[in-house]
């Protein structure tokens, strides 16, 4: 049996999305920037896709710029803003951000900018009080995650955005929504963020396509220069089939989302319940129901090594990820460390990420294998 439990890394392309893309490749091959009818027609279709995606994300103002994926969207938000604002500003991100946010901030720091990091609390949420004390009149940007990619914990964005706006209404707010879209309900307008990044392959869409919502496009400097596509913010001929695929995937995912969330949540509860009944010393890293994306389960199994467990499970046909590593040369998960999870738990941390399509039979098989391998490994580790 092959079970894929690594949906936070990437998802399988939906077969209906593939059909849409095939058709787009065959029919919409013209360059949307070309002056001829074929080009114009493709351009119109692309703009329709853009509108649909904006509507699905509840984007009412600003621009939606197509990118090559989540990392580019995050980079463009941060580095594109830094292109205009540099030299005497402060920049803030949280300690649990994805590397595609962490690395640009690290670059800014090396370039001489003042960069601050919001600590994470033990409950997996950023410390809003600490954020409040950090924001000043000099703060150019704050980058925050909507849903954390390792724990699935929703961040307190409403409270965070309020304190940022209250302290400095000019501070730009960038939200990394890559793990949120298609997993929880997203309303970009209600968030009142200035940037919101998404990635197609996280919700059964294609790879190589993403989008960045930008409230004030004029305040962003292009990182890829060339033919002036995407309102001059992102040069390069648009990935038309990718855009069509992302639109189709998003529509499919958001259609009946409440039911899907309910089913995924029920699977999650079942997983936790069975885990606790078959194994002792199992620690679930999670937030309350309202603050937890149901499709990610971070579980720490004491007396195991996650890297070894991944290989054992993969041999059983079960594929998932971990934030930790067996080797002493590799650092463990920065997210769990920021949450002050003890090292011995981080060592055995697994990220199970799934969606509503997981069957009960698959769930049973996974938990059976997990229990079997845990016992085997604990024996080896003399626990």
């Amino acid at each position: 049996m092959e079970i894929y439990l690594d949906n936070a890394s990437t998802t399988k392309l939906d077969v209906n999305v593939m059909r849409v893309m095939n058709q787009s490749y065959q029919e919409n091959y013209a360059n949307p920037s070309s002056m001829h009818h074929a080009g114009y027609s493709v351009n119109q279709k692309m703009e329709l896709s853009r509108k649909t995606i904006k509507d699905l994300l509840h984007v009412s103002s600003g621009e939606l710029i197509f990118t090559s994926g989540g990392s580019e969207g995050n980079n463009l938000a941060i580095m594109g803003t830094h292109g205009w604002k540099f030299g005497r500003y402060q920049w803030i991100c949280s300690a649990i951000e994805h590397p595609s946010v962490m690395m640009p901030y690290s670059f800014l720091k090396k370039s001489g900018e003042q960069v601050f990091q919001i600590p994470c609390q033990k409950n997996g949420m950023i410390d809003v009080a600490a954020l409040e004390s950090m924001v000043t009149s000099e703060t150019a940007m704050v980058s925050l995650m909507h849903v954390n990619n390792e724990t699935g914990i929703k961040q307190p964005l409403e409270a965070a955005i309020k304190v940022i706006r209250d302290s400095n209404p000019n501070t730009l707010i960038h939200i990394d929504g890559i793990q949120a879209v298609g997993k929880i309900r997203v309303n970009v307008s209600a968030l009142q963020a200035d940037f919101y990044s998404i990635s197609g392959h996280k919700f059964n869409g294609p790879r190589g396509i993403g989008a960045l919502f930008i409230r004030y496009p004029r305040k962003v400097m292009s990182m890829i220069m060339g033919g002036g596509q995407e309102n001059g913010i992102r040069a390069g001929t648009e990935n038309i089939a990718g855009i069509a695929g992302m639109e189709a995937a998003l529509e499919l995912k958001i259609n009946g989302l409440n039911e899907k969330i309910k089913k995924t949540r029920s699977l999650r509860y079942q997983m936790i319940e069975t885990l606790n009944s078959v194994l002792d010393d199992v620690h679930i890293i999670e937030a309350t129901e309202d603050n937890q994306a149901p499709g990610i389960l971070q579980v720490c199994i004491e007396g195991t090594k996650s890297e070894v467990m991944l290989r054992m499970l993969s041999d059983d046909g079960i594929h998932l990820s971990a934030g930790s590593a067996c080797s002493s040369h590799k650092a463990g998960s920065h997210v769990l460390k920021a949450m002050k999870v003890p090292d011995h738990l981080i060592e055995g941390a697994l990220r199970v990420s799934f969606d509503e399509s997981l069957t009960l039979e698959e769930l049973d098989y996974f938990l059976g294998c997990l229990a079997k391998n845990t016992k085997k490994m604990r024996k080896m580790m003399k626990r």
Binding site: C326, S327, K379
Partner: protein, 401 residues
């Protein structure tokens, strides 16, 4: 005028009646690296191998030859008829080239005359050519004691003129000194140890021990890549892989925790010996360096040695880590060795491994395990493959670098 590479073997010339065998093996090694470069015609004459370059670029050929054991010196020469005017002209061309390329200011001419029918003595020839070179160049002086370059003139059935003598790898041609089994890990040391012994003409086979799934597939691939890099010097290597996990599990369950490392080390050596004897190897090779880790103390090495009767070659035993690293860089294995895929999981590392093991205690601990059955099971699970470097690809990459 013909341009060619002259290859001189080192110790092969000392081999008396076996010299022919050694020369044949060297020819075979040279053929192995030159054939993929489209160079098929070369010949052995007067203890040397001559490789006509024709219209080829010589640098890929030289790089390939620099990976052949048994070659002492390499020169790029011109071969011309034994006529004094022609020899002088060729020597002048060589010197002018060096002056232009490297800005040499001093030189000397050194002649070796094996064809005694040539009327002038070696010294007379050197003097005459030297005078000719001085007359036809500007800004060059003769310095017989410390010249920046030496123009070599050899008078045989033809005359050979060359300047540089490039130092080869030395050692003995491969397959002239029996077979040995290398205990190959993914670390820095064992590939170097294997290379050093292979340079003495020993054909390598290798055995790798892993603990999958406690160690990764990437760690196994890393070992294969190291064997592949070695095979560029040593030829195809038969690589045996054994998963030691069943033994490690038994040790973890039944034996004192601090003896884990030495017990596993003895088992590895024992299995390597069994594989060696069944595959025509007369020695084992390890990358042990005295005192480097717990299993490499003088007492641990003694206890490990007691497990086997074949000689164990440990060419790195008295080398410092920095020297071994330098060597690994030289033979191009270092960058692969330091890839972060370890062949030992931290699960198997005792908190305080015994560094001065006592043989009687270790033997007693082994009695807690069904050693014979375990050894048989492990040997039955061995996986074998031949690892070889696609020569032409490597040489082409080298040529580009």
């Amino acid at each position: 005028m013909e341009k060619l590479i002259i290859i001189r073997s080192g110790e092969t010339v000392l081999k008396g009646k076996n010299r022919r065998l050694f020369e044949e093996k060297l020819m075979k090694s040279v053929r192995r690296v030159l054939k993929p470069l489209g160079c098929h015609s070369f010949y052995l004459q007067h203890n040397r191998i001559y490789v006509p370059i024709e219209q080829r670029d010589e640098s890929p050929l030289l790089k390939a030859l620099m990976k052949v054991f048994g070659i002492d010196l390499i020169s790029i020469a011109v071969k011309i008829p034994v006529v004094m005017e022609g020899i002088k002209e060729a020597a002048l061309n060589e010197l002018l080239h060096l002056q232009l390329q490297r800005g040499v200011k001093t030189f000397k001419v050194q002649t070796k005359r094996t064809d005694k029918s040539f009327p002038n003595s070696s010294q007379e020839i050197s003097r005459e050519i030297g005078a000719y070179l001085l007359k036809h160049t500007e800004g060059l002086l003769v310095d017989v004691h410390h010249p920046e370059t030496t123009i070599h003139v050899e008078i045989k059935e033809s005359a050979y003129i060359f300047s540089d003598r490039i130092r080869g790898l030395g050692g003995l041609p491969r397959e002239t000194n029996g077979n040995a089994m290398l205990l190959l890990s993914g670390g820095i040391d064992s590939p170097v140890a294997g290379w050093m012994v292979a340079r003495r003409g020993v054909a390598l086979k290798a055995v790798h021990f892993h603990s999958y799934p406690y160690t990764s597939k990437q760690a196994m691939d890393k070992v294969k890549n190291l064997a592949r890099l070695l095979s560029h010097y040593c030829g195809p290597i038969q690589l045996f892989s054994i998963n030691l996990l069943p033994f490690q599990q038994e040790v973890a369950e039944k034996c004192p925790d601090d003896e884990g490392t030495i017990l596993v080390r003895r088992m590895m050596t024992r299995l390597a010996e069994l594989l060696a004897t069944s595959h025509e190897c007369d020695a084992l090779i390890t990358g042990e360096s005295l005192g480097q880790v717990a299993s490499q103390t003088i007492q641990s090495i003694r206890v490990t040695n007691e497990a086997v009767s074949l000689p164990v070659f440990r060419p790195l035993i008295a080398m410092d880590k920095s020297e071994i690293i330098q060597f690994a860089r030289k033979i191009d294995t270092y960058e692969t060795s330091i890839l972060p895929f370890e062949d030992c999981c931290t699960v198997f590392l005792p908190k305080r491994p015994v560094t001065k093991p006592r043989l009687d205690k270790i033997v007693n601990s082994e009695k807690l395990i069904e050693m014979e059955a375990m050894t048989t099971d492990l040997l039955n699970s061995v996986e074998v493959e031949w690892v070889k470097e696609p020569l032409h690809q490597v040489v082409c990459e080298d040529a580009l670098s």
